[in-house]
Amino acid sequence: MDPLRTLWETFFDWDSMREALPEMLTVGLPNTLILAVSAALLGSVLGMVLAVAGISRSRWLRWPARVYTDVFRGLPAAATILLIGVGLAPLGMQVWGPDPYPLGILALSLIAAAYIGEIFRSGIQSVEAAQMEGARALGFSWGEAMRVVIIPQGVRRVLPAWVNQLIALIKDSSLVYFLGLVASQRELFRIGQDYAATTGNESALLLAGLFYLALTVPLTHVVNAIDRRLRHGRAAGAPDDEIEDADLALPGAVGGNQR
């Protein structure tokens, strides 16, 4: 057979794709979103805690944050997911039964938090000390000044790096298949892989790849649009909110923090 034709059919066999599509849409996509969105929320909250602990004056906050970051950033994601998903499974069994999702989400969050913590910390530390002084001079406590003045500006500066991390998280969500998923728990990658294994044809896996791109590429553009709006503020007259508004004349965001 013509090798090029074979190659084409290995990746672009429409019948295989059509066969896998319904399950990708109804099972794989929702499951990937559940994993990625929950881990993004939990990971960002935890990352913010790590960031603030990391710049604390108390070494008892700084050190644990440092060690945590080094450990969870330094381990392979697959190892962390297995260690937590399998290692804590007996404990999880007592709390929420055999569902591997909670521990999978926890593991993904812990990994993401290590990276997001560093991203947020670099953003927060890039805000001029004069901003803190200005807020303190008005009578704000350190914590309140952080919350309403420093952190909103710092986070705004690192939005692109934060999106990098969310993209990594969406991709890493495929690794929960290590923990053993029943049919209804399979996410995009696992469904693609299963179809590829049974048909001996990679087209379903390629389709899964297209789904990942459909999630990650628009995410970048959505955040860029938000970024633009934050730079220039809302239309005059609209009520604005200090958490959402951000600076006009800021240097570029801190560089990516990809593994």
Binding site: E133, G134, A137, L138, Q153, L230, D240, D247
Partner: protein
């Protein structure tokens, strides 16, 4: 200018010392400002003027000495509560760039004074009106000139109804043509009865507006008195040399 200055109080700085490591920045500073009066602090850079201001509202804690408001020491007070009573204006304005001008002024009113939104906005609009910037309420600070930004910073401090105002080289970062507007606001405030400590390089302002001029050098007030005495009849050689350089 109809800023409420009825709550202005006297300010006393007594023998304040401060060192950063081996660098003794303040070496026993004394300064008295009567209620409603304005003291201008002049002197070469590095003489401790800005640091002195920061020890008054305890952005920096003095090592020794005392700071009195209305005759009472403030060193035992909660620093956050103290800073609500002492307004401060900075050389670089320190406006919050991610908020509108209006939000800059209402922020502390809402979050610290716990005023409802509409009351905070009313206070802020009145203050912005007094500095001539009501029309800029919805702009971001970056869209304003330096002089306008500094007037917003003054409005932001005044909105908290401080008992004392501190100005740290408020016009030093401004283009020359913008200095006058800011000094005008400050002069109105002084005439209105606000107790003020003004660190400045504007000798004209010090001469016309100050009740007391204090010359600081190497961490101490070398000479202080009425503007005429300080400018026309300086006693200390270092003050005479300084005046010869700046006038």
């Amino acid at each position: 200018m109809s800023v409420d200055t009825s709550t202005s109080v006297s300010l006393g700085v007594r023998d304040v010392h401060l060192a950063f490591g081996a660098n003794r920045v303040l070496r026993g500073v004394d300064l008295e400002v009567a209620r409603g009066e304005t003291a201008c602090v002049i002197g070469p850079s590095g003489s401790g003027k800005s640091t002195l201001l920061r020890t008054i509202n305890r952005l920096i804690e003095p090592d020794r000495g005392d700071v009195l408001l209305d005759g009472r020491s403030v060193l035992g007070d909660d620093p956050d509560a103290l800073r609500q009573r002492v307004g401060m204006v900075f050389q670089q304005f320190n406006l919050f760039p991610h908020m509108s001008v209006l939000r800059n002024v209402t922020l502390a009113l809402r979050r610290i004074r716990r005023l409802p939104e509409d009351e905070a906005v009313a206070v802020a609009r009145e203050q912005l009106d007094l500095v001539g910037l009501a029309a800029k309420a919805d702009s971001r600070p970056a869209y304003l000139s330096g002089g306008q930004q500094q007037r917003v910073a003054i409005a932001r401090a005044l909105a908290m109804q401080p008992q004392v105002m501190l100005f740290d080289e408020a016009t030093s970062a401004l283009d020359p043509e913008l200095v006058k507007g800011v000094l005008g606001v400050m002069a109105d405030l002084a005439a209105g009865g606000m107790t003020m400590v003004v660190v400045t390089h504007e000798m004209g302002f010090a001469r016309e507006v100050a009740d007391t001029v204090a010359f600081m050098d190497r961490g101490v007030v070398l000479e202080a008195g009425e503007p005429a005495a300080v400018f026309e009849a300086a006693e200390h050689p270092r003050l005479r040399r300084f005046l010869a350089q700046v006038l």
